[in-house]
């Protein structure tokens, strides 16, 4: 008994010794961590790459984890900047928010799918599992393969809020853990449909018009295309140091231009 206890204490000492030696990320010259939404992650990585190319004295580390984790990380200081691809809930308020851009959610199908548009109710019906075949909604081809994001993802949350309403995404939906993975499946399967960030749509997939509005930046800015959400950078307090420099870069002309060229709607607008 004593022996086991002694061993456990020993192991615990080893582990905590390791823990104590951890570098302080807030120290000057340390690494700044940006964590959260995987929808924002690829854009943040690209921005950080560009930012650090011009400012080699800064070191920024981008992590995924999802919007909820990003909000928590900002609250408890685990990350200097948290990323969220959905609006904060009432009980999450109190953080310093910067909307770096907004992103449309595109409902996408294979390039060869002749369908051009659906109503929001039809999209909801597809994902609720009401329609078995493309013919039932005026398309061509056989069984519909619908691909959703996994539970907990910000994109799924936004899609449920804006499209599904009080309906549930069917459990029969194929599930992928990232927007890129959803796109790759849609790009390969002519009978499939899914939803991803508008910024990630490429020419192998087609973004459908929803309720008659094309999924373009113009239509989002005009308020015609309704499926859009903000990309938020969150921090506990007014950002300073590396965080401030990075956010300033993003909100400046070069950063906004980069986001724009990736298909996002600049945050200033």
């Amino acid at each position: 008994m004593f022996r086991t206890a002694a061993i456990l204490v020993f192991a615990a000492c080893l582990l905590s010794a390791a823990a104590c030696q951890r570098a302080d990320p807030n120290a000057a010259g340390g690494v700044m961590t940006v964590a959260g939404s995987t929808s924002i992650q690829p854009f943040a990585e690209m921005l950080a790459e560009e930012f650090m190319a011009g400012h080699p004295e800064f070191n920024i580390n981008i992590q995924g984890g999802g919007s909820s984790a990003g909000i928590r990380a900002a609250q408890n200081g685990a990350a200097q900047i948290g990323m969220s691809s959905r609006n904060l809930k009432e009980k999450e308020k109190g953080l310093h928010e910067t909307a770096i851009a907004s992103d449309g959610i595109a409902v996408i199908v294979h390039r060869d799918n002749p369908l051009r548009g659906l109503s929001r109710a039809e999209v909801a019906g597809i994902f609720a599992g009401d329609y078995k075949s493309w013919k039932e909604i005026g398309g061509e081809g056989g069984t519909i393969h619908f691909v959703a994001r996994e539970e907990g993802s910000g994109t799924r949350g936004a899609f449920e809020e804006m499209v599904m309403g009080d309906r549930e995404i069917s459990l029969r939906a194929l599930v992928q853990a990232s927007n890129g993975a959803v796109r790759e499946i849609i790009a390969r399967d002519p009978a499939s449909i899914g939803y991803i960030s508008l910024g990630l749509v490429d020419d192998r997939v087609r973004a459908l018009a929803v309720d008659g509005a094309e999924a373009t930046r113009r239509q989002i800015m005009d308020g015609q295309y309704k499926l859009s959400r903000p990309f938020l950078f969150l921090s506990r307090e007014e950002p300073t140091g590396t965080a401030k420099a990075f956010i300033d870069f993003i909100m400046g002309p070069r950063g906004q231009e980069l986001l724009s060229s990736e298909g996002l709607i600049p945050g200033g607008q």
């Binding site: 192991a11 995987t38 995924g64 928590r72 996994e150 539970e151 907990g152 459990l171 939906a173 853990a177």
Partner: protein, 279 residues
């Protein structure tokens, strides 16, 4: 000094138990309270997995894990066993000397590579020729079946080689053909060893994560056919861990607890059959 070294080594040796204990402790600490709160029945028997809305049924995933593992065995065992029997009983020793290590080397290929080839080559094949989304129970079974081949072949070869030569000679002296000898004498003698090989293959299949996430489509529903998508317990953790928080995260640990218990039972069975064989 000597005493000190002995004590140090003792601490090191017992730390491997401690690690197992700590792992078990942490997984159960996160998962068990949740299981008690929600009820084992509602979790294990529930068919709805909507963790952000308070529904935590993992039955479809338990079934998915069992089905895909069963499928992997259906594909991997006949292929692997035939290969082992051929190499030990019918081929020249030289062929075996080259092929056995070559096959064992393949156990080192990362599972993500198998998964990727599954997505690129196998899934479109299934979708175009058999129907469905391609991401399916069938694709998962085939990929896992191939992945467990090295394990099954290598252990089966060891087991078959361990069957005393005198058994074969005795049978052949009675006028039996090689085939009859193999099916009636050798395989019988090697039975429990082959069971161990199969169980170890099963352990690998049931525990595999990344390749399965890539090729099975991960729908949380009972499959209607082998062309339908499934989700395994491992995929459930793999897909959702990154985003989960609160109850959802605990539910994933509960999934881990269920998986952990399944694997431990399997380990126990494997270690029992191994002991029986030694006796």
């Amino acid at each position: 000094m000597e005493k000190l070294i002995e004590k140090g080594l003792l601490v090191i040796a017992y730390s491997s138990i401690a690690i197992l204990f700590i792992i078990t402790f942490f997984i159960f600490k996160e998962g068990l309270p949740f299981i008690f709160r929600e009820g084992l029945g509602t979790i294990l028997g529930g068919v709805e997995w909507r963790p952000t809305k308070g529904e935590f049924g993992i039955l479809p995933m338990v079934v998915g894990s069992l089905l895909v593992t069963g499928g992997a065995l259906v594909i991997g065992v006949p292929l692997g066993l035939s290969c082992a029997v051929f190499l030990v009983e019918f081929s020249k020793p030289k062929v075996r000397r080259i092929l056995k290590p070559a096959i064992e080397l393949l156990a080192g290929i990362p599972s993500v590579v198998y998964g990727f080839l599954g997505v690129i080559l196998l899934v479109p094949l299934i979708r175009v020729h058999l129907g469905g989304p391609g991401l399916s129970l069938l694709a998962g079974s085939i990929i896992l079946g191939i992945m467990i081949l090295p394990t099954i072949i290598s252990i089966s070869i060891d087991v078959l080689e361990a069957v005393p030569q005198s058994y074969r000679e005795g049978s052949i002296a009675l006028g039996a053909t090689t085939t009859q000898t193999v099916s009636m004498v050798v395989l019988k003698a090697a039975r429990s060893g082959i069971v161990t090989a199969v169980i170890l293959g099963m352990g690998r299949a049931i525990g595999e994560t990344m390749a399965v996430i890539m090729v099975t489509g991960n729908a949380v529903a009972f499959p209607g056919s082998i062309l339908d998508s499934i989700r395994t317990l491992t995929s459930n953790i793999g897909i959702e861990l990154a985003y989960a928080s609160g109850d959802h995260q605990e539910a994933l640990f509960a999934t881990g607890v269920v998986l952990f218990v399944m694997i431990m039972v399997l380990n126990l069975v494997a270690s029992m059959t191994r002991k029986k064989r030694i006796r």
